[in-house]
Amino acid sequence: MFLLLPFDSLVVNLLGISITVLFTLLLVFIIVPAIFGVSFGIRKVYMKTLLKIFQWATLRIERGAKEKNHPLYKPYVNGIIAKEPTSLEEEIKEIRRSGSGKALDTPEFELSDIFYFCRKGIETIMDDEVTKRFSAEELESWNLLSRTNYNFQYISLRLTVLWGLGVLIRYCFLLPLRIALAFTGISLLVTGTTVVGYLPNGRCKEFLSKHVHLMCYRICVRALTAIITYHDRENRPRNGGICVANHTSPIDVIILASDGYYAMVGQIHGGLMGVIQRAMVKACPHVWFERSEVKDRHLVAKRLTEHVQDKSKLPILIFPEGTCINNTSVMMFKKGSFEIGATVYPVAIKYDPQFGDAFWNSSKYGMVTYLLRMMTSWAIVCSVWYLPPMTRQPKEDAVQFANRVKSAIARQGGLVDLLWDGGLKREKVKDTFKEEQQKLYSKMIVGNHEDRSRS
């Protein structure tokens, strides 16, 4: 037993040294810049290096596949066009609604119905199931994450070693670093905002609150190694406005809030989230709702209106889609936030899936699993575009305004402007559906026509 002592102390010493080194690194390179809002550019260099490695890995796989003369599976290009299985009824309703604005409960045939079938037809001519999956051409770059690789059998020894190294770096070096940072960020946020909450209201409190918030969000951004490019920052939201953005993951909040000072809107949760929420509201007025209040739309609208009308209060941050979408399209915006009558500042967020897929499929992964996946990816790379502010025109109703904002966001972010409700994400659409479409359509028209002629 005594023989182990020197070995033990060696291990302990090594551990102590590595932890100290880690924390010094953390402090100097990450936390201090976050406090002051500067950047050393380390992340950009990291990103460029990664890209070079990915390209090399891709070429190896391609070579491997060519040697065996097999086609490769292309993970990012599901065919050449963005097709979504929309529900016929929903889409035709939307086309009509944005068209003549006729009553929806008595649909009858309209010239615009042909849009849907026409487009579907052209889509199938452009691309169908046959051409979709396999292509012998260039593979999209493989990012050394096994979760995105579908061509396992073409990996050579060298590539496996590289991949193994990648796993080691990600799980043993990056992950603890990131968890430590996240921990620091969140605890700083909670303590900072609580402390600031004790100050009397005034300019000092506001100033401190703003900087505490910004600092903690910046630390969280570094905790995810998020490399964000902001465009058109002169259009950033101002007090008394509503900031509207497309929603891909809970990380969106962190990304936007690290560049601006917003009032959050949401439901009070229990647990850690609840603690954070309660602390934040002490420092500055966020709008949190109890679970029971969320159902009451008038109450929600009233509180939001009150907040917006007070010019000293911060711009509200809202995600009108209501659920996380996979960042290739923008779904229908719920009209609630557009009825309030404030200036809307649209923001488009687009993620680059190469370094890590940020989409949260809440039916597949829980929050913790999702965060772990995020923290073990290479990085989260995204672009944020601040679009010029929009207001509701006198002849527009809330729905048309919402659609206009949505189109602007979709166009800027290069996303598909879809018309259907994000709630349909959880259902699976089968092939027999297509055949039913025609029958459904005719039933829809004829059924209602008969009702009308009877009444």
């Binding site: 950009k44 990103m47 460029k48 390209q55 891709t58 391609e62 599901n78 065919g79 050449i80 066009i81 963005a82 086309i95 944005s98 068209g99 009858e108 045939f109 010239l111 615009s112 119905d113 042909i114 849009f115 079938f117 026409c118 487009r119 579907k120 037809g121 052209i122 889509e123 199938t124 001519i125 452009m126 691309d127 169908d128 199931e129 051409t131 260039e138 490399i227 490019t229 687009k350 680059d352 190469q354 790379v381 995204c382 672009s383 659609n403 189109s407 979709a410 166009r411 598909v416 297509k434 055949e435 479409q437 025609q438 029958k439 359509y441 005719s442 028209i445 004829v446 026509h449 008969e450």
Partner: protein
């Protein structure tokens, strides 16, 4: 990603004329070759090889639109027997999404082109008017999926819709006035102020916006 290739001059010319990027043109060219079975032209029969198209009620009209000379930007009229890749691209360009950098005039022209394409789909006898009979024709086709539907119902639906269209275009008509048909100007009038551009386009998955990230 991958190998860079030099863009041949014709490709660039095609890209300029139809507004697609060279990457999209390449994809479409592959698709064209697959449809035409490596021939230089496509005929109507080649569209039979697309299984998903079977389910579309207006399949006939869509395929017809590809061979309609009015859509091919040729001054002549009538039907072509076969089309080459350039014509294929021309038809596809009607479904291009709008771009960020388009000005008012371009947007307007774009919109008119899309609406003209639709108009030609309805106007099957090429006389520049959508008559009641042609309208009925389209409604019947759209409702053809339902085997229990009687012709009469389809007809009355079409009649109702046509009357509605007439009221928008001509206003109140006297009892002995006959509405001849919807001309293209009337057609445009019906769609005034309605944003069809985002409904009538097929979007390519492209990685261009990714490039903006760095």
């Amino acid at each position: 990603m991958g190998s860079a290739h030099s863009v041949p001059a014709e490709m660039r010319e095609l890209a300029d004329r139809t507004g697609f990027t060279s990457e999209q043109i390449e994809h479409l060219h592959r698709r064209f070759k697959q449809l035409s079975q490596d021939q230089l032209t496509i005929r109507k029969e080649n569209f039979d090889s697309i299984p998903d198209l079977e389910f579309n009620p207006i399949r006939g009209k869509i395929v017809h639109a590809f061979f309609d000379k009015r859509n091919l930007r040729q001054e002549s009229d009538g039907l072509a027997d076969e089309i080459n890749f350039e014509d294929f691209l021309t038809i596809m360009s009607y479904f291009r999404p709008i771009e960020m950098n388009m000005d008012e005039e371009q947007l307007d022209r774009f919109r008119k082109e899309k609406l003209k394409f639709l108009f030609h789909m309805y106007d099957s006898d090429h006389d520049g008017k959508i008559t009641l009979q042609e309208y009925r024709n389209v409604v019947e086709e759209l409702l053809s999926g339902n085997p229990h539907l009687e012709k009469e119902s389809a007809r009355s639906i079409a009649d109702g819709a046509m009357m509605e269209a007439a009221s928008i275009c001509v206003g109140q008509m006297g009892p002995d006035q006959v509405y001849e048909g919807i001309t293209f100007e009337d057609f445009l009038k019906m769609w005034q102020g309605i944003d069809i551009e985002t409904k009538m386009h097929v979007r390519f998955l492209n990685m261009e916006t990714i490039a903006h990230c760095y």
